[in-house]
Symmetry: C2
Subunit: 377 residues, 2 copies
């Protein structure tokens, strides 16, 4: 489980470069095919198409909630003055549009579906931050810390409704199926967040890696899968193609979560927007940590002891986090996470090949999947 | 404003019987037409049609959230054993089905819309109870007190999604318009709850009656209006008929809220399921209270002084509540609320007559509207 070199799907070298099935995915390089669209271009053109739709939708919210939403999206400061902040990387809407294109659809026709997915994503962020008491998101104080729990909950509720209204008002023939699929996904996201909260309440030795992977699939994989599926639905794809694209997004989503967890421990705070070692200081049972705890190594025992220690002892928080990070690494948690991310990417590519056999048509989705798993940190 | 005898639309006598435009609405008697369906029969047959659909839908929730939902609906105890509790009076689904029938539609064809409205209602109850820290609902501890804030929030989120999935999967030609209307209504409900929280944070002298009425319309009237509108949409009605029925439900909803507020002060705790005087003990700015405070009477000054007093003084809570209730009554708050409820009922009947000119066809909706405003207490 902690062997990073013999994974069936891929390996990760010491520089953090992911090797998948003989292809080398390096940071800053185009997707594995060596040609095709750059993920950065796809994301930029997605923002250009989807942002106006998103902003138009948010402008229709009642004033009190619109203010919270505009703050959360980074478009306004807390006092209501305009801000030029970033509302995230638009990976989910990019997956919708790119999946539509990959299956022969018109991406411009799927803009509302893309915006709806982004609204759902942000509704869950608003609510999760309340439940998890997370104080920082996208380098800024979370909405509940600024406006209070009630306004963050209500704005999340309204964003979910806005997403569904957008699809209900879309005359596209795929809209009802997309709305049903998105609603089903919300239920899975809620179950994932519930499982995550439950895992966090349990002791480090009472949590299995399988449980954590299932939770990550529901909490993160489900919406990336749904984004791809919605693109396929809007392209008029058959149900089995839609389901394969859902599988592609889910597997890529798990790879994304694994890398995100790695970044959560060893990432640069200036890039992550969170304090260094915040996940470890909060005793978060992220995937590398749980893999490390399950490794049966002496470092695992040290990590368990560090996690059992309540915060606020004689050791400073950064010292504690640094020791915990070293223990996770020595127990093989970092290597396992990177190898498992490569494994999931390999499975994702397999699902993609089923739905979109033509490598050229699949290039955009592949570039996006690789982008999220080769983020530099 | 506090004159209970000269209201343009109706009067309330000392026995609490509401007189609307010459017709007398007495507790326990059929609706004002003297014939037509009994509200109790409509509610019972609604439960029979809609409950199986609701339960089927809730069974599809992920296990962790299903348990919270089944508890909230009164169908299970907290430990998961079956309970025969009541999931409320089904007024909203009854309005959907009865509106569909009134406009010549088949009520059986609108069952999903009725269930969707009831799911949305319960989603907002789950979330509002968290925000308001309300501990009792339908004679039982609220879900958040049993399962925690996170599970109550997540179950509410999932119920909203379930409502939308139900409409998205409904092949009825009215389903997309109904879904859009229901989503828009959720946004209004959220704005109403936001306004309500904001009003509760302000001092008793900083709140106007108009603000409170607008808040009650958004928080309560909107969903009753939406229920009627969805029935009309499912009957294939024209937009102006749909809007008139929305107006009917809104006005009846405000009448309902006014009577509910009266019951919240003078109601029998065995019937309301809340401790006597709980609204007054919590210094709640309900409509009769705000009307009383605005009356300029000596009793208003006494009430303001009682509301300014922090809870937990030398006086017991029941003593304080009893004095406050008397002050509201002396300041005319009770009479005003009953007269204004009659006024709203009169406006509701006016809107109903526009959409459904045939009194026989309108009988069911009228009976339901009168039922909610002649609840005994």
């Amino acid at each position: 489980m902690t062997d990073a070199t013999t994974d069936t799907a891929g390996t990760v070298d010491t520089a953090g470069t992911v090797h998948v099935e003989g292809r080398i995915l390096e940071p800053g390089r185009p997707g594995g095919t060596g040609e095709g669209p750059e993920a950065a271009d796809i994301l930029a053109s997605t923002r250009k198409l989807v942002d106006p739709e998103l902003r138009r939708a948010i402008e229709t919210l009642p004033g009190s909630l619109r203010r919270v939403a505009l703050y959360h999206f980074g478009w306004e400061y807390a006092d209501g003055t305009p801000a030029a902040g970033s509302a995230g990387k638009a990976i989910r809407p990019a997956l919708v549009l790119t999946a539509a294109r990959a299956l022969g659809g018109d991406p411009a026709g799927a803009v509302r579906a893309a915006a709806a997915v982004e609204l759902v994503h942000n509704f869950t962020l608003l609510h999760d931050d309340v439940m998890d008491r997370d104080t920082t998101r996208r380098h800024r104080p979370t909405a509940w810390t600024v406006f209070g729990d009630a306004d963050a909950i209500l704005t999340g509720d309204a964003l979910q409704a806005l997403a569904q209204r957008m699809l209900a008002e879309d005359p596209h023939p795929g809209a009802p199926a997309a709305a049903a699929r998105l609603a089903g996904c919300v239920m899975e996201l809620c179950a994932g967040q519930h499982a995550d909260c439950a895992l966090e309440r349990r002791g480090p030795d009472e949590v299995t890696l399988d449980e954590c992977l299932a939770t990550a699939e529901a909490k993160t994989g489900a919406l990336l899968g749904c984004a791809c599926a919605l693109g396929a639905v809007y392209a008029g794809a058959e149900l089995d193609e839609v389901d394969s694209l859902d599988g592609f997004g889910r597997e890529a989503g798990l790879a994304f979560q694994l890398i995100d967890d790695v970044i959560g421990i060893w990432g640069d705070p200036h890039r992550t927007g969170k304090p260094a070692g915040a996940d470890l200081a909060a005793r978060k049972k992220s995937l590398p940590v749980v893999a490390a705890l399950a490794s049966g190594t002496p470092a695992a025992a040290e990590l368990a002891e560090l996690y059992d220690r309540p915060p606020g002892g004689t050791e400073s928080a950064p010292e504690h986090a640094a020791r915990a990070a070293l223990a996770v690494e020595r127990a093989g948690g970092r290597d396992w996470a990177q190898a498992h991310a490569a494994d999931r990417m390999s499975r994702a590519i397999g699902q993609l090949a089923v739905a979109v056999p033509d490598p050229e048509a699949a290039g955009g989705l592949l570039a996006l999947a690789e982008f999220v798993t080769r983020r530099t940190y």
